[in-house]
């Protein structure tokens, strides 16, 4: 078998506006994770440009990308990626220590209703609780952009909804631009805009006139 160039994304043209809640919807392998990674400064596209405010992300070197992530981006991962050797509070503090104007770590945990579990280690928390700690960790730095990669992918419906509620609340209360990627079409109902991705292409963009509350969702 010879080498084959695989393009995860092709001809993507996309704008996110401040305070917006966007859902990137697409099946597995559609390139949505790659898009999220590029938006978050974790990855760079082989061609094309990405802008953040007045800056061109694609011109950034490693150190500048690190600073971009440090100052502007919050991540929530499918598998939470908490540091198992740190308590919930310490996992949040890990980020607030390097941020410019962070929330108090405990306040961030209270935002996701976990103030009472602050001294628990990840292994002592349920999956949903772990994901909420991850959300607290992501928002504690008061990021401009919150990027969530399948935040409910590893969770059951009920817990998933609790996590989505937390994300929605952050978007509303802090005005954080939020992008959630998912293959779960139901989640699209809570977005301002839904961007459909398939085979590395944006196949359509819908605007939701009637955003639904996370609590109303079910799947």
């Amino acid at each position: 078998m010879g080498e084959v160039d695989v393009h995860a994304l092709r001809g993507v043209d996309l704008d996110l506006t401040t305070g917006e809640f966007v859902v990137l919807l697409g099946p597995s392998g559609s390139g949505k994770s790659t898009l999220l990674n590029i938006l978050g400064g974790l990855d760079t596209p082989t061609s094309g440009t990405v802008h953040f405010r007045d800056h061109e992300l694609t011109d950034f070197d490693d150190a500048e990308l690190t600073r971009y992530r440090r100052e502007h981006v919050g991540f929530v991962f499918q598998f939470y990626n908490l540091i198992p050797s740190l308590t919930a509070l310490e996992n949040v503090a890990l980020i607030t220590e390097i941020a410019r104007s962070p929330l108090d770590p405990l306040a961030a945990l209270e935002l996701v209703d976990l103030g009472n579990r602050k001294d628990h280690f990840p292994a002592q928390l349920s999956g949903g609780e772990q994901q909420r700690v991850a959300i607290a960790r992501a928002v504690a730095k008061q990021p401009d952009v919150l990027l969530c990669d399948e935040p409910t992918g590893a969770l059951d419906v009920q817990t998933g909804i609790m996590v989505l509620e937390a994300i929605q609340r952050i978007n509303r209360e802090l005005g954080t631009t939020t992008a959630v990627i998912t293959h779960n079409a139901v989640i699209a109902d809570m977005a301002d805009r839904v961007i459909h991705i398939s085979g590395g292409l944006i196949t359509g963009v819908d605007s939701n006139d009637h955003k639904r509350e996370a609590a109303e969702l079910t799947w």
Binding site: R69, G74, I83, S85
Partner: protein, 787 residues
Amino acid sequence: MSALNRKTLRDLWQMKGQAVAIALVIGCGVALFVLSRSLLYSLELTQNTYYQRYHFADVFATLKRAPDVLADRIAQIPGVSRLERRIVVGVNLTVPGLAEPAMGRLVSLPDTRKPALNQLFLRRGRWLTPRRDDEVLASEAFADANQMHVGDSFLAVINGRQKRLKIAGIVLSPEYIYEIKPGDMLPDNRHFGVFWMNHEALSIAYNLEGAFNDVTLSLMRGASTAEVIQRLDELIEPYGGLGAYARKDQPSHMFVDNEIEQNRQLGLIMPTVFLGVAAFLLNVVLSRIINLQREEIAALKAFGYSKWEVGWHYLKLVLLIVGVGMLVGLPGGAWFGHEVTGMYAKLFHFPEFKYHLTYDVALTATLVSVAAATLGAWGAIARAVRLPPAEAMRPEPPTNYGPTVLERLQLGHWTPPVVRMILRQLERHPLKTSLSVLAISLAVAIVVLGNFMEDSLNYVINAQFRLVQRYDMSLVTTEPVSRRAVHEVASMPGVLTVEPTRSVATRMRAGPRSRRVSILGIPTDSNLYGLVNVDGHRISLPPDGMVISRKLAEILEIRVGDSVQVEVLEGKKPVREVVVVGTLQDFTGVSSYMNIDALSRLMREGPVVTGVHLLVDPLEQEPLYRLLKDVPQVAGVTIKQHAIDSFEKTVGENMMVMKQINLLFACVIAIGVVYNSARISLSERSRELATLRVIGFTRGEISAILLGELAIVTLLAVPLGLWFGYLVAALTVSTLDLELFRFPLVIERTTYGLASAVVITASVASGLLVRRRLDQLDLIGVLKSRE
């Protein structure tokens, strides 16, 4: 404390067993480094201060008899700073509590002033009363060995007359830090001692009034030693000068220097091995941790921790382990240093031998260990630094599997499933398997290294005392005597065999290189003295020409067939060209041998001898000793058994201590390596093993899979380690190729056996420790977590 630092501490706590094992290996390396460096420093400092404060001479010369006025002419040689003329004579002693004769050397001290050179340190008692002829100052080594105190007395045969001498004081001299009888390799302080006596009394006793027979000089800064020696030789030649020599050829100084040099060499090899192993272990362990923490690293980076912050985070873990190692190693090294200093104090007689651990030794040790550990961990840390955050988010791609050699050979179905699993695991991670084998083999090598010195020394002792010195007793005369003396000795009671010896002091020259060395004349096919090579092979002494030590050939840069200019330093002082007909791979010093008749022809002298080698009936030893004591021409008698006993008492005891220390260190490294390998293996496979348990494998079966792997790795490592041990031993032998001692590369089967046994035991113990963890395997937990 920052959350990231907390993570460091918790990670460290999580891996505490492994961390302690690695820290101990580092600790051993540091301890050995500190031990050898601080000992080196202490020895050098002690030696230098002693030499300076007590004016140890730079040049030494012995002659027959010269008038005092010659001393003034010697003092005028350009470059001479201080001069002391003395009388030095050898005497036989009768010491209370000692059946056999002892030998003494009497050195004269100026009656009314301090000597200008080689001043004494008064340990106990008082200085000599001027003009007393029955008082001496005794060397501490002799006094201690014979339990003699100030006020005790003994008998000495002074110029043929027996005289009772009283010990006024017990002293030390920079000339006799290592107090050894001329020609011996090991000290025998019971049977040889140095004494100082008033010059006037000694000159009267030996009819040397207004004369001297020994002179020592110190030189001005920048003076050429070689030139002074040449001028001095010219001046003393008419007075029976035996050839002056520099400090570097002074026996006591040579031994102390030899010891310093040995420490310098050993101080490099062993710490390097330990720190190398520690670096390797850190690499393996940290690689594993970083693999396990891929996603944590990704998260840290995603949240804006820079790659250098991530790198520093893991480096801190390494530095903490090094820190623990230092906490063990520095005091450990200092403690060993104290112990070994104590052992040296028995061997070397310094007024004060203090152990010094300097800040710069501690600092160097710290820097070296930090550097080694960082270097070892660097590969793993660099991977953490480089890991692109987007990639780290995804789990590691699965290993590419293929059929094993056994399966390719169609032999797979012959092996039971568990064995097949073990073999596949090993074969599918060839690099990991090789590294584990390598690490464990280093532990084997350390045991071999720790033990081979003893094997080597035992071999040397055995060869020296059984193959080379086949005699029971050797006897040296005060000056050459007729060969008839051999028959006289032969007729003494108890004497079974006698062979004559003729020893001639010479200086050998080859081009610009020269060396003072005695030629020993012995009969061809001597039964009592064998010329034996390192391999135990005896070489025969040709009827003519000279056989010299390989080391001497190296020093003079000559080969077999070359001729050497031999400048005899006694008698008529002939200068001759002598062909080197063979070289001898001997163990100690530098020597040169000739057929005794050929030597007589060289000397243009009749059949004379300067000593004999004897085989003695053990039952008749007592009367023979008594008889020999009363023969005035006998300068000294050496009983071989005393040398062996004295060796076993001093060097043997020290060897035992060193051996135990080495064994301890080897065990630390073996357990450190094996335990770490087993833990990493467990960590890598716990998921797989838990799965097996869930689908119905028993604890025994999964233990067999994990421990079987360890067993195979250990069994592969043992022969490799023995080979490594052999190589490192060979390296050690070649770096310790010093002039005074040379160690042959001898490794006994017991050493190989011990090395294998220690590592296999450590392996089994580590296996059992890990097996306990296997029993506690959290089946559900392991399956739930994603790796």
